[in-house]
Assembly symmetry: C2
Homo-oligomer: 119 residues x 2
DNA sequence: TTGACATGTGACCTTTTGGTCACATATTTT
DNA sequence: AAAATATGTGACCAAAAGGTCACATGTCAA
């Protein structure tokens, strides 16, 4: 059961930050990623490298060598498989409506929420 | 950051089994879920209860009291949010094509795979 | 070839998580 | 009311994961 690796990989905040960073822009080196991580939390290069290895083993990140650098890319396929595991295509439109609603609610200002009541 | 709870909740195999079970059919009691879990692995009711609590705290499972039972329901919204976090709507069709391809490949018999070469 | 740069790996320690149990509450049945 | 059923909670221990370091390989530039 290798999907274990995917879920374990996603279970750590630093690794999710790495995915977020690669989602924003692909093809970054370890050094570049280390820099981004250190804007949020203090961590050695070794720690970042270890996290990246887990992401690669889970196939959430792919690596392409370029000279002495290794450039990292986000692979979203495992994410899609998670989605498909618990959201079937018949209920998907309903779920999407709910998440869109949630996104809307979260962009509202507090004032806009006055009077709403979800008892 | 409460999305932490979702990813932590998904990181355990027993909890994923619980979600699979509820995905198959909603509205099960703790006792019923315990039974299913014990078809796969040995675990006390206490363990299952603890796992369920984490799922509820992550809002992946909702509970409705019915007499002395508590019926559990799968809530797929957090799953959808994971999807939306790393798959934007523009690349989604591409990713879906890839996952469909993967699903197809996995239903092939070994014989059918002869001659394929993805180098 | 030599030195600087970019990165991988196994050992080690600390923190977190998984699992069980004893005890508790709430509801149904008799 | 008392017994049986269905479930929640905090304490506790064992197992797993997170983080750092020393040491290593491979690549670029001079």
């Amino acid at each position: 059961m290798e999907d274990d690796l995917v879920f374990k990989a996603l279970a750590d905040r630093t690794r999710r930050l790495l995915l977020d960073t690669l989602f924003e822009r692909d093809g970054r080196s370890l050094g570049e990623l280390e820099e981004v991580v250190n804007q949020h939390t203090e961590m050695s290069r070794y720690g970042v490298s270890k996290h990246l290895r887990l992401l690669v083993e889970a196939d959430l990140v792919t690596v392409r060598k370029s000279g002495r650098e290794r450039l990292h890319h986000l692979n979203a396929v495992p994410i899609r498989l998670i989605h498909d595991r618990w959201i079937d295509k018949y209920t998907e439109p309903h779920i999407r409506a709910l998440t869109d609603l949630k996104a809307l609610a979260e962009t509202e200002t507090p004032a806009e929420r006055e009077g709403h009541d979800d008892g």
